[in-house]
């Protein structure tokens, strides 16, 4: 399986704020890669770095096996993106917008292809209407058409369902699945909703405060029989090293400042026993139930409104 995006130790500092902190991940060809995190987690900053809109403080980005910053134009010719919201020329028609961005990507597609793109996103009937007359959902679909017009191999969608009504969200989901399954595109899609990512992505990464929390296959990560167990020890580094020598190594999650293992809850006594045998000082063991619970625990901060009891 070829690698489309390879991000290594990526960090971005905005003055005193660390927006992205030592982030590494890989997107493979054909993936619908979910990029999940709450608002302000660092998703948009990362995506902007992938599109050269923000320069990384440290780290490297390789796309199509080439360094993004030394092969920028060559790489971006094969990338289509919708960044946060579909920003289009409101005083121009849908057709003109599409034609402009096709030309910007070095293409002269001709009327037939442009109309075909508009048909794919359900806007052929409104080709000559000005964008200022469009609903948010129509703009979002036109944004997707703009991202696809030059037939890119990689599509980056930053919060594509923001501001859409339920029908718009469903349309967007179907479009992403169509692009992946029927057209074989590799897609990186960011969201702050796990439920959205779960429905379209085959792999995903959770980012929190700029750091990677977890990365893997969606089906495995969301397996209800597996729990994320967080262990607090006297010396996490030492404990991690000791666990790496045992059968638990495969269950260990990447280091994000905590010691976490993905496992069945009924295996917890055995884990504790092994840790005691390895002379690890255990301070607490906290089963996080599921990845969904864990993600919710990240997004539930003081100040949030608690649900009303029945």
């Amino acid at each position: 399986m070829s690698t489309i995006i390879n991000v290594s130790n990526l960090s971005k500092q905005f003055n005193e704020v660390t927006a992205v902190n030592d982030l590494s991940f890989t997107v493979h060809a054909g993936d619908v890669y979910g990029f999940l995190g709450q608002n302000g987690a660092g998703k948009s900053t990362t995506i902007r770095m992938l599109l050269t809109l923000v320069k990384p403080s440290t780290g490297t980005i390789e796309i199509f096996d080439k360094n993004l910053f030394t092969h920028r134009n060559e790489i971006l010719q094969q990338v289509g993106a919708v960044i946060e919201k579909p920003d289009l020329y409101k005083y121009l028609s849908a057709y003109d917008n599409l034609a402009i961005f096709a030309k910007m990507s070095g293409m002269d597609p001709g009327r037939t292809l442009l109309m075909e793109q508009l048909r794919m996103v359900g806007l052929a009937e409104r080709a000559s209407s000005k964008v200022k007359t469009f609903s948010q959902g129509m703009k979002q679909r036109l944004g997707i058409a703009v991202a696809l017009v030059h037939d890119p191999k990689l599509i980056i969608l930053d919060e594509p369902t923001n501001g859409l009504d339920p029908q718009g969200i469903a349309d967007m989901r179907n479009l992403v699945l169509h692009l992946s399954r029927e057209m074989g595109k590799t897609i990186l899609v960011s969201s702050h909703l796990l439920s959205e990512i779960e429905l379209v992505a085959n792999r995903m990464l959770i980012i929190h405060k700029g750091k990677k929390i977890v990365e893997g296959n969606v089906a495995e990560l969301l397996d209800p029989s597996k729990s994320l167990v967080q262990i607090e020890t006297g010396n996490d580094t030492d404990a991690r090293e000791k666990l790496m020598q045992t059968k638990w190594a495969a269950r260990l999650q990447p280091d994000n400042g905590c010691l976490q293992l993905k496992m069945n809850k009924d295996e917890v006594p055995l884990l504790i026993s092994d840790l005691v045998s390895a002379q690890v000082q255990i301070l607490s063991v906290d089963p996080m139930h599921s990845l969904e619970d864990y993600f919710l625990s990240l997004t539930t901060k003081p100040g949030h409104v608690e649900p009303v009891a029945d």
Binding site: S44, V54, I83, K209
Partner: protein, 297 residues
């Protein structure tokens, strides 16, 4: 680059505000032409003042297409920078506020190319604007009022330029005005790269022009000596130099001559330097521009 220029021109000429300038100019020039058509003789008598009492002047001949155009240019070229700023101030900041700028910056073209294409598109717009002025103020005026000798007022008095010696001076004057307007466009472009809304750069450009013009005009030695030589507004009215004709020692005008040619060349050089510096600064700033996400932690 040609591709980018086409796109930028398409965007500029699809905006209604672009045509506002053409409409304003047409309306303004038409009003002047109408006024001079009705009261041209009175206007010329007023211009020449007491000279008519000592000389036999054919006022009707002096109110001709060349004179009308000269009058229009004197009034209009001071205000054209506002119309230039209206479009040039919006090219980057307008896209920043619309959000399309980050989409442009994520396309496989360099940021330098984007800015240069935008500036080139503004140049086409300015050229079209000046061509429009030339057609209406010169061609239409000649068609309506005819051609004849041109009277030009100088600080030292009046001078007469023969009819056959005028047209090339207008071509040169419009060429010079184009360079002068491109300085204004470069200022607007620079301010536009610094702003996220289009009103700011437009107002700031007009403000800069007003302040610099006032300082240029002030007869205060401190300003005249130390500041005026560095202000672009000092050189912007150099187009008038093409209508100052050279003369012999006994005061006879020399056909096809320009009285202060080195001064015009110096002004042109200064304006071109301004353009180079301002466009380079715009490119530098745009290349360094960070497209921040809305929320950073």
């Amino acid at each position: 680059m040609w591709n980018l220029l086409q796109i930028e021109l398409f965007k500029i000429f699809k905006k209604p505000r672009t045509y506002l300038a053409f409409a304003i100019i047409a309306a303004f020039i038409f009003l002047i032409q109408l006024g001079l058509y009705v009261n041209g003789r009175d206007w010329m008598m007023f211009m020449l003042g007491s000279l008519g009492e000592t000389m036999n002047i054919e006022y009707d001949k002096l109110v001709n297409g060349y004179a009308v155009c000269y009058f229009v240019l004197n009034l209009l070229l001071v205000h054209v920078p506002i119309l230039v700023a209206l479009v040039a101030g919006d090219v980057v900041s307008g896209e920043a506020s619309m959000g399309t700028l980050r989409l442009l910056a994520s396309k496989p073209v360099s940021r330098t190319q984007i800015i240069l294409a935008k500036y080139a598109a503004i140049a086409v717009y300015v050229f079209a604007l000046l061509l429009w002025i030339a057609v209406i103020s010169l061609a239409v005026s000649i068609a309506v009022f005819g051609r004849n000798d041109l009277v030009v007022a100088k600080t030292t008095g009046l001078q007469l330029i023969e009819s056959g010696d005028v047209l090339w001076r207008y071509f040169c004057a419009f060429g010079f005005a184009f360079i002068a307007m491109m300085v204004v466009a470069a200022i607007s472009l620079l301010l536009s790269t610094l702003s996220e809304n289009s009103i700011g750069p437009i107002v700031a450009t007009v403000g800069i022009i007003i302040v610099c013009t006032l300082i240029s005009e002030m007869e205060i030695p401190l300003y005249q000596q130390y500041i005026k030589p560095y202000l672009f507004t000092t050189y912007m009215l150099g187009w008038k130099g093409f209508f100052y004709i050279g003369s012999t020692a006994d005061g006879e005008t020399i056909k096809g001559s320009i009285q202060y040619l080195p001064g015009i060349v110096k002004s042109l050089a200064a304006l071109l330097l301004y353009i180079a510096a301002l466009v380079a600064a715009s490119v530098y700033i745009f290349r360094k521009k960070i497209f921040y996400p809305k929320i950073i932690l």
